[in-house]
């Protein structure tokens, strides 16, 4: 059974339709990347998977939690859906008044009622896993962007979700710290985590993703294995997008020529 299935999901903000009847499936243990131009609906689609965005219509299923947005979803259903996944934000959204370790154990201790000693032990192991054991007692403001993002990953992992969602985890980072974060993502993929990653890192998608979906204007224009979507795209829109991302100056040069 797939971990995620999205059927005919539609979402509009005001009169502006952002997702047009989108379908998406994510198989267990796979890495799916969502790529596409700014404003194409990647973040919105990702947020529909954990209920941070509420679709206007359609069905979202994650594991055994299904919400049909034909009716107003109950609070319990939304909570159950949200509990399936961990989320890593572009702007990390760490709790600034708590240390790295406190950020990681906040959910386990206060939501899942895990004993503090056990949560701390697991939290330390998670921080070690993302390479930040020695930063456990630092506040987010004392960490670099890449380190903050890795704490955010540990915080999401700490709740033992079955699905990990990443919204452009490296877009706000200095170039030299991007690699640290992508390495953690690759490790998670190798450990068999089911992941959905919104990213502009085409090289990362090529090397780590099992499935790539290209969105444009709220529609999945093309999807498939990276070798096909990124290596040999059939849709002109995909080609144009890839050309622009891989060589940002290309368009300008063509116009000048």
């Amino acid at each position: 059974m797939s971990v995620v299935s999205v059927r005919s999901v539609r979402k509009a903000f005001g009169g502006h339709v952002v997702l047009h009847d989108v379908n998406l499936d994510v198989t267990e243990g796979s890495v799916t990347t969502l790529i596409g131009p700014s404003g194409s609906g990647k973040t919105t689609l990702l947020r529909c998977l954990n209920g941070l965005a509420l679709p206007d219509a359609g069905i979202v299923r994650v594991n055994d939690v299904t919400i049909d947005y034909g009716a107003k979803p109950s609070r319990e259903a939304r909570k159950a859906l949200a509990a399936q996944s961990g989320m890593v934000f572009q702007a990390h959204h760490l709790f600034p008044h708590r240390t790295a370790l406190e950020n990681v154990i906040e959910g386990p201790v206060y939501v899942q009622k895990e004993p503090v000693a056990q949560a701390r032990e697991r939290g330390m192991a998670l921080l070690a896993q993302v390479g930040l054991a020695e930063k456990a007692d630092s506040y987010p403001s004392q960490l670099s962007g890449g380190q903050q993002q890795r704490v955010g990953i540990a915080r999401a992992l700490a709740l033992r979700p079955t699905l990990m969602l990443f919204d452009e985890p490296t877009s706000a980072l200095d170039p030299e710290t991007v690699g640290d974060v992508l390495t953690v993502l690759r490790d998670l993929a190798e450990q068999g985590w089911t992941m959905v990653v919104v990213t502009h890192e085409i090289r990362f998608a090529e090397q780590v993703a099992d499935h790539v979906a290209f969105l444009d204007g709220g529609v999945i224009v093309e999807e498939g294995p990276p070798a096909q979507v990124l290596g040999d795209p059939t849709e002109p829109r995909t080609r144009r997008f890839l050309r622009r991302v891989l060589d940002p100056l290309a368009d300008g040069r063509e116009e000048q020529a």
Partner: protein, 222 residues
Amino acid sequence: MDAGVWELLLNSVGPLVMGAIVGTIPLTVLSFVFGLAIALAVALARMSANRLVASVAAVYISIIRGTPLLVQLFIIFYALPMLGVVIDPYPSAVIAFSLNVGGYAAEAIRGSILAIPVGQWEAARTIGMGYTLTMRRVILPQAMRVAVPPLSNTFISLVKDTSLASSIMVTELLRRAQEIAAPSYQFLALYSLAALIYWLICSVLSLGQQRLERYLGRYVTV
């Protein structure tokens, strides 16, 4: 000034300081604690999705801020007895000041909660927190830092506002000064002494405020 005045002043320091200790200071602290509790409830009500709850809170804030504190005090002490509600001077003052702080501090608390970025709410949601837990563990601890400067102003104003309680016969600093000044006609000396003591209390509080701000801001960029 002749020696008699100096002697009167010297002898008055004790009674005035006692007035502060038994009157002004506990009146301020009690009213501030109750007032903050009221303010938090009113601030949350004001932000409620329930329109009726939100309007009741808005009306409360509007009345408190739109009427003089002295009038509020008189209504509780002199007017309520006409409706059969008789309250002693000291508790009357505590009630009036608490309600007043509740109205003013509510806006400061509401502003500080709204100042916390929406991403904090979203991050809390994704780790499974509901409204109450998010407020308690994520939003209020951060909002507190934002709220300290305006709430400190409220607190320091309250110290001085408690002098209004002298008008309903509560024994506090100003009342003591009046009691000694009236028979001796030494208004200048006694009221100056009272002013000096108020100023000392407020100066100590300002220092405390600075230390509290530093403590609460310890996690902000070092």
